[in-house]
Amino acid sequence: MSARVREAWARRQAEGGRALIPFVTAGFPRRSATIEILRTAEDMGCDLIELGVPFSDPLADGPAIQHTSQAALSRGVTLPWIFSCVAKARRHVDVPIVLMGYYNPFYSYGLERFCRDAAAAGVDGLIVPDLPPDESADLKRAAGAYDLSLVFLIAPTTTDARVRAVARASTDFCYCVSVTGVTGARRAFASHTDSYLRRVRRLIQKPVVVGFGVSTPAHVRRLGRWADGVVVGSALVPVMEKAGSNRGLARGLRRFLKPLVQAAHGL
């Protein structure tokens, strides 16, 4: 339900600070870990979770997320499995869950059926990195019918007119890609990142999250100045992969997320 997403934004606005949003690929590092990861993220105060749907050809992703995607596929992660996993997780967690995945598996599942099953499982929204608003009429209709947020992306190359159009097309929030490039941890952001984010901020009223390349509390503070939320994805991969057990994984994740959440909420 997109209502859960809107509540999360309202809460963040009331409490101040920025949202911290982890991205994790469903079924990575193993299928049994996903529910534990969702619970841990909620416990740590994460405001929303992006759950990655693995795809064979993730062309907007760098090596880390490509690797998680391949690993999840080889462990038999499919949309039906993800839906059952989210449905089970919903007994314990109330944090909004937004699926992030490439268009083809969704299209192939049948867009109407996909949105119905996602909403029934307790998914709150969708981000589809290879689906610009221009091609989204069918998914928009289906997502609207099942009250799922549909979030489009803005890039540094996006013109002002398109930024406004992307914002109009997006429900509940927009996703700002921090750099021209694929996902993956970066050491530093260029100075023009700030002017780009400032430009986007000025152009749209809806909440904006920023992602790609974020790995440290300093990054969160830097990009969080211009956004309502910050996404951390690739940087979590080694943290999750290192742990042998799900309990160890939760411990490592807590340790890693804590300063990031503090940085975001403290802004």
Partner: protein
């Protein structure tokens, strides 16, 4: 469909479109605008015609194949794209796109390649015009096409292996798209087939349509009539679109596209996208695709690296649905047999890709109307190691 034209939404019928990350949309808009104005620009056209003639060696001839005709049981004529500089039709497109790149002020060129012919053609034009060049190639294809890799390096191009996925053309295309997303402002991506997001399929169609334009006239002059059937191999489908384009409007002429059936259509190891796939989205466009029931892109297989691709150009998808073109598939073995057959009877060594088109004639002589025009899309020197391996 009586003509092969893209509509205003960047589609051929339902197929095509732009399914790419937002970062690339402005670059595609810019490319579309540049292409639209330059294709009518006299200076640009003259320059392209000039390099096609003086540098690439156009027009390529058509050759009668009397001894092969005897074996096939139909009268066969060959459009000799194997005689084009670098040995395949790919140069028609790379010359066009590199001139576009220069007019747009881009000094860095990237490309994907399967068989290596498009990589070679891209490295060649980058050397000719003094541009930086990076070629992505699947690690498996690098192994299969070592000679082309070496040639490209001598031409000054950097060859980067794609290690992800099946390590073939599909994965090289993913890597090239990732590079483009990262360096979009300085870089021109020369796509090698009639695939990818709009306007690429249309750009490649326009630059390859010189094949059919020449062939139609040459055939008329040499034979005194039009061909009964026109046959071409289809991977992504650029040589086929190139030759079909001139004949689409004349429905008395059969058009036949031949895909790779690999180890057999029921073996699960083939690349017969139009024969066995379903419409879906890969590499920026909506088109037929080989995929799993879950919508993951399936592994393709063909002995020919250039056909080893699970997708196909959106124009072909539209032509399949309207049945203007008949699509069929022949196996690795049948293609290899045709390879030897043409080599022995005509002294022309065809590419393994092209051998699929020839194999169709040997297999289905009753399904074609004589005289037949075949697009001899490339020469087979690059495939000699593979032939020796399987022989």
């Amino acid at each position: 469909m009586q003509s092969l034209r893209v509509n205003r939404r960047g589609r051929y019928g339902d197929y095509g479109g732009r399914y790419v990350p937002e970062t690339l949309i402005p670059a595609l808009d810019e490319l579309e605008a540049a292409f639209r104005s330059l294709r009518r620009d006299r200076g640009f056209r003259r320059e392209l015609q000039g390099v096609l003639h003086d540098y690439a060696g156009r027009p390529t001839p058509i050759s009668h194949a009397p001894r092969f005709s005897e074996r096939a049981g139909v009268d066969v004529w060959l459009k000799r794209e194997d005689l084009l500089h670098t040995g395949a039709h790919k140069l028609n497109n790379t010359l066009g796109q590199v001139l576009l790149a220069m007019r747009m002020g881009k000094r860095r060129i990237i490309a994907e390649t399967g068989a290596g012919q498009h990589g070679l053609a891209t490295a060649t034009v980058a050397a000719r015009f003094g541009l930086e060049c990076v070629i992505y190639m699947g690690a498996e294809d690098i192994r299969r096409q070592a000679l082309n890799v070496y040639k490209r390096q001598r031409l000054g191009a950097q060859v980067r292996p794609g290690h992800s996925g099946t390590r073939t053309l599909k994965d090289a295309t993913n890597e090239a798209l990732r590079d483009w997303v990262t360096h979009v402002e300085s870089t021109f991506y020369i796509i090698g087939s009639v695939v990818g997001p709009h306007p690429y399929p249309e750009i490649v169609r326009v630059f390859q349509s010189v094949i059919g334009r020449e062939a139609r006239q040459q055939f008329r002059k040499a034979v005194g009539r039009h061909p009964g059937s026109v046959v071409a191999c289809v991977g992504g489908g650029s040589n086929a679109i190139g030759i079909f384009d001139a004949f689409i409007g004349d429905t008395r002429i059969d058009l036949i596209g031949v895909e790779a059936a690999g180890r057999g259509l029921n073996s699960g190891a083939h690349a017969a996208t139009l024969v066995r796939g379903r419409p879906c989205v890969l590499h920026g466009s909506y088109s037929y695709l080989l995929q799993t029931p879950e919508g993951q892109v399936a592994e393709a297989h063909s002995v020919s690296a250039g056909l080893d691709y699970p997708g196909v150009g959106p124009a072909h998808s539209a032509l399949r649905d309207t049945r203007r073109v008949t699509y069929a598939a022949v196996t690795d073995r049948e293609a290899l047999k045709a390879f030897h057959s043409l080599t022995e009877t005509e002294g022309i060594i065809p590419a393994l890709e092209t051998s699929h088109a020839l194999a169709y004639l040997l297999k289905h002589r009753t399904r074609v109307n004589s005289p037949v025009l075949v697009c001899l899309s490339g020469r087979g020197d690059k495939d000699i190691d593979i032939i020796r391996e399987v022989a």
